[in-house]
């Protein structure tokens, strides 16, 4: 493999659902009031007192077979650097076809522009000399890992080899590049 393939790995064992990643993303990316590009999902199973809780920090999965890209009539949604999924604001008409197509509910209309917004994997940082995404950088538990999935030596690749991991809706045929460590 040669081309860079950016991916993200979140450790559900250490994430505490504090949402620092949500706040940091909002200020880093000037996300519209009332919206966010990442969010926290918690699921509790069992009943008192035998309970388990899983916590995940989630965002756009930057799928390799992204339904939002294939459905976009204008080419605004496209594959960008490192195989990330990006949206070109000037080409987006706000038709919302991609919102309907995304099985992860990662997209929303920025009311200030009328066009789609979502996680960019912080390409403005990672392609510009800052190796971390904003959510990764802030995380007090260091639960977010970001890097090149195509490089078997990268931290994300090693984690996926060493630990049990899963992706969301693996059967949706989207080939997500966002993984969660058990």
């Amino acid at each position: 493999m040669s081309a860079v393939s950016y991916g993200m790995v979140v450790d559900t064992r250490t994430c505490v659902a504090c949402a620092a990643c949500v706040i940091a993303c909002k200020t880093e990316n000037d996300v519209a009031d009332g919206f966010s590009r990442d969010w926290i999902f918690t699921a509790t199973s069992g009943s008192f007192p035998n309970l388990e809780m899983e916590i995940r920090s989630e965002r756009c999965n930057h799928c390799e077979d992204a339904p939002c890209v294939s459905v976009c009539p204008t080419g605004a949604s496209h594959y960008g650097p490192g195989g990330t999924v990006q949206v070109t604001e000037s080409k987006c008409t706000g038709c919302k076809a991609c919102i309907a197509a995304c099985p992860y509910d990662a997209r929303f209309i920025d009311p200030r522009t009328g066009s789609i917004d979502k996680c960019t994997f912080c390409v403005h940082r990672v392609e510009n000399g800052t190796p971390t995404t904003a959510c990764q950088e802030v995380c007090p538990t260091k639960s977010i890992y970001f890097g090149d999935l195509a490089d078997p030596e990268s931290e994300v690749s090693r984690l996926l080899q060493e630990r049990q991991a899963y992706a969301l809706l693996p059967d949706a045929g989207t080939r997500p590049k966002h993984f969660f460590l058990k």
């Binding site: 000037d30 009943s47 650097p81």
Partner: protein, 742 residues
Amino acid sequence: MKRRQFIRVGSYGAAGAAVAGGLTTDWYGRYGNPIADPGTDGDRVVPSFCELCFWKCGILAHVKDGRVTKIKGNPKDPLSNGHLCPRGAGGTGLLYDPDRLKKPMIRRDERGSQVFEEVSWDAALNEVGENFERIKAEHGAGALALFSHGYGGSWMKHLFKAYGSPNIAAPSYAQCRGPREVGFDLTFGSGIGSPENTDIRNARCLVLIGSHLGENMHNTQVQDFADAIRNGADIITVDPRHSVAASKSRWWLPIKPGTDTALLLAWMNVIIGEGLYDREYIETYAYGFEQLAEHVKAFTPEWAYPRTGIEPDVIRRTARAMGAARPATLVHPGRHVTWYGDDTQRSRAIAILNALLGSWGRKGGFFVPSHLSIPPYEYPGYLPHDDQAADRPAPSDFPLADQVLAQGVCDATIPGVVGDSRIKAWMVYGSNLPTTLPDPENTFKAIQELDFLVTVDVLPAEIVGWSDVVLPEATYLERCDELYAPWWREPYVAVRQEVVPPMYDSKPGWWIARELGSRIGLPEFFPWKDSEEYAKTRLEAAGLDCDVMREDGVIVGKPGPLYFEEGALPEFYTDSGKIELYSPRLAALGFDPMPTYDHSALEEPPEGYYRLLFGRAPVHTFGRTTNNRLLSEVYRENEVWVNRDVARRWGLEDGERVFLQNQDGKRSSFSAPVKVTGRIRPDAVYVVHGYGRRAPKLRFVHGKGIDDNELITRYKVDPIMGGTGMNVNFVTFLRADAEEVA
């Protein structure tokens, strides 16, 4: 679906962040489709330290076109290590809160009516100065009390010491950490302090008792907690609620509220009985082991079981896990520990358990902190005064209280409660007493008795509405404060710098204190030009480079040995010079020299009532941040956690709004949605503290959720140090449509 459940749509009005157009730049067209840089990198980056809570993490504030765009962790700072909690990352929500106090104000109608006139600083300060001088002339300096919370309060404390009042109180003592400090001091000869000297990151067994790391977001502790998880530490969480920490634990012990000391005694019983304790450590450093061994003999796991609800087998197995990992077993001392009025003794039990495990001064237990000594700025010594604080009826009451009791000062304002009601006037700095001191009706009663009340604050909290004069302070991003050189893993000093100039007509605390000082004849106590010159002078006197400080925000010294095994000195500043398992000091004062547990003192909830417990959400520092619109996008209203079976019995649906009413018939002012969950015991309910706000000018949070403090009409005072145990109230549900009925 998921995101929309978590992030609710909020509106932010004038506080809205930068505009979409203009600031965005298309940064290279390599991919045909240009990608917009959000353009939030500052053209200036200013290091400082955070004040969204009191942990004081080092930050880097990005400023672009005069606006703070984002706040990052300062990688050089030993507390943040480059990471922040959500509150720290959301500091701009405070800076740009449209509800901020903007101008000095003087009350123009009866107290509490919230009718104010905006005035000049000169007029406001003259009014305050005249009242301070009058109070001193008529009643003596001790008639003026200060309540303070937050780092900027140091300037006001200095002003009060110069003025000559002994009544300087902080609710962070008797309403929060006090019992822990006294309990550990009695045992090891030193308290825990803040930041805590807990070596969480190296613990191989971590025991959390009602301490919810992960919801309580003291940044470094949470960072270390994650390290402990990664290292595979055995985690034991004791909590009536399945906290986030409990979900990370190998053991969750859903204890019956109020019975923690019984569990701690049973653990000691097993640890001593099975020889799991650190014999050599105890023989070398401890005093009173024989008495303790004898004392805990009766407290078997079988004895504890009916009291705590924790099965004997679980008590034994967790005790063995603690013993197996010692001395890297940390029984965390907690932080907010004023629960049941026996809190010093419970903290003592925690300290003794740590001593048995040999964890004090050991890796994975409690490290030995060091600190940088910075010479003071030269100013005249405070004038001597022999006035006693007015916070307790007799000096022999609460004999081990080593700080002024905030509720005592409040009581001493009401005629007939504490002796002769010597307090006539208050200054309140950054501490919203009606949501902080228990029994707010009592606080309002005291306020009505005052001759004069001045508040210094950033937001129009409840206490502001009751004031005679309101002084709007600049936020932490707009001011330079006292240097911060805590006792920590490595000695260091951090500086708080002005990131942007104060907005509106707000002023920094140092300036307010100095201006008041000059109006009441104490100018010689404020010889500095400004806080920057003050900080610079101190740094230079310590031989530190001010330019490095300005650039880096911190200067870190050489760490000393952290553990006894590395050469740290095992010094115990108790009377015996040893770790006092048996406390002769407590015995001499007529208290139990070793912790006991009295089950008959534990009140049961009346039929249909549930014990009211309160805590924290990770994005909030109680009421200080609940008006922060940015943070509130993640958590904007508290919920009442109700056990699933209880909810079924009441027919309560998830999300249905209820009012709470306590055992004394006190009903919450507002309602909150029910969270039906398996994550809490059936005998308790839980809310996040800081909601149900009544201050109308907190336009965002006003009326949202339930204020637990309103329902804390009863509290149990710790006889040893005067802490107010507040988990002793019971509540029942009123459906929200009962509003008209009641």
